[in-house]
Amino acid sequence: MVQLRPRASRAPASASAMVDEGQPASEEEAGHGLLLGQPSSGAAAEPLEEDEEGDDELDDEAPEELTFASAQAEAKEEERRVRETVRRDRALLKEKRKRREELFIEQKKRKLLPDTILEKLTTASQTSVKKSPGKLKEVNLQKKNEEREKGSDSKKAKEKVQKVQTVGQNKSYMAVRLKDQDLRDSRQEAAKAFIQNCLYGPGTNRTTVNKFLSLENKRLPMKKAAAQFLNNTWGSQRKQNAKRFTKRWMVRKMKTPKK
């Protein structure tokens, strides 16, 4: 919508509005007044036409006088108005941003654990890191070497997780020594993946060693069990606990004298 310059005929009305603008209290009113002062296209059209018609009739009359002072005052008022609008916009944006930040902080607070638990965690991790850096290193190396032997693809992910644990709460980055990284190229990785895919990937007809060796057992006249029938690694923790319990029980039994 085009903001038409108020015509000279309306000058007194707008002048009073502009004078009012000087007072900050009446800012909004002035604003509204300005907005109201903005003629709609329909409304503008009519007075224009009227003016035009008026102009046609008053063609012979001399043009209106416009003193320099009034023009200057108009220009100044205009500048002030522009400044006021910019300031208002900025203030509005600031308020918006403030409100948003407060909202985010609140949300974050809701997400995190209560402060007491966090404190406990940080102190505990720091002391444990200080006490046994060597052990952790060994553990890391062990895990790394185990994973190398297994050759799993989740190797790097596991390593990252481990490093993060030692770094602490700073989960946004990870510091790794270049020496510790394996000497691998992405092309070499791709080549190994290709071979692995060709030989052991989908579409190849592979089976486990257990099934392979047990195939003959199935066809014997006396059918035998599979080559690796027992899973000796099952329940190792339970078995250890049971052993420890029996040891302790025996000791207790020996201690109490026979009645």
Binding site: Q142, R187, F194, L199, T204, T207, T208, K218, A227
Partner: protein, 686 residues
Amino acid sequence: MGEFNVHRVRFFNYVPSGIRCVAYNNQSNRLAVSRTDGTVEIYNLSANYFQEKFFPGHESRATEALCWAKGQRLFSAGLNGEIIEYDLQELTIKYAVDAFGGPIWSMAASPSGSQLLVGCEDGSVKLFQITPDRIQFERNFDRQKSRILSLSWHPAGTHVAAGCIDYISVFDAKSGSAIGKMLVDRQYMGVSKRKCIIWGVAFLSDGTVISVDSAGKVQIWDSATGTLVKNHLVSNADVQSIAVSDQEDSFVVGTAEGTVFHFQLVSVTSSSSEKQWVRTKPFQHHTHDVRAVAHSPTALISGGTDTHLVIRPLMEKVEVKNYDAALRKITFPHRRLVSCAKKKQLLLFQFAHHLELWRLGSTVATGKNGDTLPLSKNADHLLHLKTKGPENIICSSISPCGGWIACSTASRFFLYRLNYEHDNISLQRVSKMPVFLRSALQILFSEDSTKLFVASNQRSLHVIRLLEGGFKHLHTFQPQSGPVQSACLLAVSPDGAWLAASGAAAGVLVYSVRRLKLHCTVPAYNFPVTALGIAPNTNNLVIAHSDQQVFEYSIPDKQYTEWSRAVQKQGFHHLWLQRDTPITHISFHPKRPMHILLHDTYMFCLIDKSLPLPNDKTLLYNPLPPTNESDVIRRRTAHAFKISKKYKPLLFVDLLDEKTLVAVERPLDDIVAQLPPPIKKKKFGT
């Protein structure tokens, strides 16, 4: 002989790595084998298939191709993009040249032996010139669209066939341009989504190209016209390797199902001169993929993921039908991987990247012959020691008192001090190794654990005195001339006076430790030494060679003993000489000087020098005589070699004390259980 309590140890979790490439050298009758962990082993096929040299592996070296070039030079190339030349005289790696083509998949030496061709990941085929000390890049051939997985030279050196994915290209060797392309069907008479990978090509002198691919086909092409001549469907799984004989009348292919097929050029009818390739013999000696085959003039050699190296002599090529024509299967190492600290009953196991220390269990029960005694205390895993770095461990040893452990990789030497307090064990590394002690081929501690003997790969022998908290270098015996043997074995006498070292071309050298100089040299024998041992009190040096001969040499007298001369005069029993596996350890009884305990993979033997020797007619493996027989018969049938085959396969047997033996076994099933998955076999009824 005596009665012994035997500790049967089965917790040594030894798993060898699979064989990836095999290369046969005709002039020296040697076989180079490379494994998936980067180790390269050299077997001397004329010395009873003994592994005489090896280059330890490295984690980043994933070897994909191995070949011999002119003048006994060995090259290998792998997925790290480097071409490596091995120095067989010094037992080190001469140099590694980066081919700048990405991972290298295949390599072939020209028939003249002066050029080397490598096929890379990016589809380029690069030609290198072999100069006397290095290789020089010459030219790139036309670049192909997919990776070059196999290469083969025409015997005249004019053309080269390269197998890629879904097609084979033929290049002109002079200009490097691709002259022809032969498209391979993805499946035998069918359509398939999986790409056809050409695992092997072979170029014959009449222009035929033989290709093996992942669809299980062996195809014979005419390279001049680029057409398919004959198609053989050999298996349902991939056919992964091919090797052609020098006379070009037979070739061998290996499949992923473990079958090895022999093809021969046979005339169509008995009178016609037209010949065709016919599949003659299948051999099923492997359970897993056969990734490498080689064809020597008289035998087919195959190796694969199931870690066996199988050498099958061809009956029609063998002249004399004796034991040499039997199948040879090499599964277990030809070196000792276990050391024993006798006083503390500890065993040290050597793996590729770590060492394990175990304490043997104990029992308080007694029993009769053949009983299994229950353990009162189980075996304890005391220590798991990892070495830093990507290299494999070459050798390791533990001192007899159990206080020191030493191990060596190709570039570093580690020495650790152990302390035992009440069932706890603490380890301390001795830092600041001297500069000359870089890598060792063999490490040995003296019987009183005060001295350490190290045979380095610069052919010198170092004597180091061990002190509490450190060490002091005592002496270095000067390097010997001649090529270095990988099996550089050491033996020290129990009183600490003599040190014997094999590995020189002149024979076994005996040094006096007290006077720090060379004492004498045992005359050289044309077969390599597989085990050494010095007896207590008598200081007789017992030497076992790879052709199963055992000599006894008296060090103070500087001559062979009477017993040894008698044995050589009579000769060993023919069954003794026909044993497959070499003797890897010799030990002695502390109280009985007439006894020698030796073992190989399938038997252990107690030689009693006081008893008569067996001749060819007597039974060598006589079982324990029943007690109700009369003494006369027992005296008549008893002979010096008391052999027991009860525990097998054996990795180590030793006498712990007078009444105890320890036998470390490694059942084959336990190894097979840890191998990668094999191809599924469908059997009716399962």
